[in-house]
Amino acid sequence: MIMNYNVIDKIDVFDIIRHIKDPEFPKTLEELKVVNEDWITVIDFDKNNNNDELNDNGNKENVNNGYCFIKILFQPTVPHCHLAPTIALCIREKIKEYLPKRSKIEIYIKPGTHQTEDEINKQINDKERIIAALENPEIFQLVKKCIKEDDY
């Protein structure tokens, strides 16, 4: 997959994550309706000027240059899906691997689609938990398998 965009939008992000394979079923997240283009928000801060010095005076302006902020909602196949955290890891890792730009990613369960939504949302956005999960060889292998691009 080769990408060379100036500005990242939600279609780019969706193209990266749609073919992720479900950890359980032999289908993609798109086929299982776990992910949807309309549940992705992207703000690309590259349009802002890189002007550090003006912002050293304690002003509360936000100049986040050089990265894009990505927010993704996903809908687990069943409301008690125990692999929801793994799906979130797959989405995060695939974007990190394939997006040709630094990104800050927030991933949440689509409201009302999981029994322990708040718990999972906290877990899948906790930086230590993410790293620790990826250092678990079993989870790492599973994530790698799910995000592998073998259809092209």
Binding site: N50, D52, N55, D56, N57, G58, N59, K60, N62, V63, N64, N65, G66, Y67, R102, K104, K122, N125, D126, K127, E128, R129, I131, A132, E135
Partner: protein, 335 residues
């Protein structure tokens, strides 16, 4: 109101880069002499940095042994020992040789069942606290032969414990957790007990810092808040006295309170460093922002630490694989 407006800037005076770009440098600690830095990262190394003859910061030694991310490092108060807390569930202890800047592994503290997230020495250098995703805090005592004996295993937090920190001059331990609370622990007739639980944060609390006297504490977290706490002597309880909310657009991972200047520095996942100080001499319980440094790193700022010997010198590290040394400069100008 004073007519003199102080203007501040954070000037970059030193920079070190890990060999692999975008290695996450999680934490750093100044040696008590203020001239050596220890860092730890997701490459499993603890690294020692210092200035060379030309005043340029460089790598001195890489300490190898952990099997997973090293999350935090801490120097003993005398500077002879260095501890590293790792996601491999162990804590390593390293000893500095007397005359040279060289470290050898002397001990490994095993016992936690999941990732160790934080390690801290008490002010006397005899007690060590570690905490983990296993929801427990272990208190260890250092014996004469570099052996560590576990004195107590404390449970009380409902979730991962993110940070442990000893009071600057009392045998009192503070801990912060994924369960959104801060707890204080004390040895009461031989048993370590939780003596106070602070609620106020709305999500995980990533880091804690005491002021010099230890009558105030600051905390920061996933909820983008910085909370100030004060010890209420009358009621023997810690109370929330001040709060900053949403000054950062993403979680705040680190906070440090300078015992030299009384200023506070935070590092955030929005890549910025913010410096706070007491609002004025007459308002001991109010604080203000002195400076906001956007894009301090090219990615999340994981740690910010004031130099313990040299005023206004700050070190930071982040997910961009870099370690930076800053000087907070004050220029007084009349308005």
């Amino acid at each position: 109101m004073s007519d003199t407006m102080k203007e501040y800037s954070l000037k970059l005076i030193g920079s070190m880069q890990k060999e692999t770009p975008y290695d996450k440098v999680w934490n750093l600690a100044w040696h008590p002499n203020g001239e050596i830095l220890a860092t730890c990262a997701n490459d499993k190394y603890i690294q020692i940095w210092s200035k060379d003859a030309n005043d340029k910061w460089g790598l001195v030694q890489s300490l190898e042994g952990h099997e997973k991310t090293v999350r935090r490092v801490a120097w003993s108060p005398c500077g002879r020992f260095l501890a590293g807390a790792s996601f491999d569930a162990s804590t390593s202890i390293w000893e500095k040789s007397k005359d040279e800047l060289e470290f050898t592994h002397v001990s490994s503290l095993e016992g936690h069942t999941f990732e160790v997230k934080s390690v801290a020495w008490d002010s006397t250098g005899t007690l060590l606290a570690t905490c983990s995703r296993d929801k427990s805090i272990w208190i260890w005592q250092m014996e004469d032969d570099n052996d560590f004996e576990c004195l107590s295993i404390n449970s009380g937090h409902g979730q991962d414990i993110k940070c442990v920190l000893w009071h600057p001059n009392q045998e009192l331990l503070a801990s912060s957790s994924y369960d959104d609370t801060i707890k204080f622990w004390k040895d009461i007739e031989g048993d370590w007990e939780c003596i106070n639980t602070l609620a106020g944060h709305e999500s995980s609390i990533w880091d804690l810092a005491f002021n010099k006297d230890g009558d105030k504490l600051v905390s920061c977290g996933e909820d983008k808040m910085v909370l100030f706490w004060k010890f209420d002597k009358e009621n023997e309880k810690w109370i929330n006295i001040f709060k900053f909310k949403d000054e950062n657009s993403r979680p705040i991972y680190s906070i440090d309170w300078s015992h030299l200047t009384n200023r506070i520095a935070t590092g955030s996942a929005d890549d910025s460093i913010i410096i706070y100080e007491q609002e004025s001499n007459d308002t001991p319980d109010k604080y203000k922002i002195v400076l906001k440094k956007q894009n301090a790193h090219d990615s999340d700022v994981n740690c910010t630490k004031w130099n313990p010997k040299f005023k206004n010198i700050l070190a930071s590290c982040g997910d961009d694989g870099s370690i930076k040394i800053w000087e907070l400069q004050e220029d007084s100008t009349c308005s």
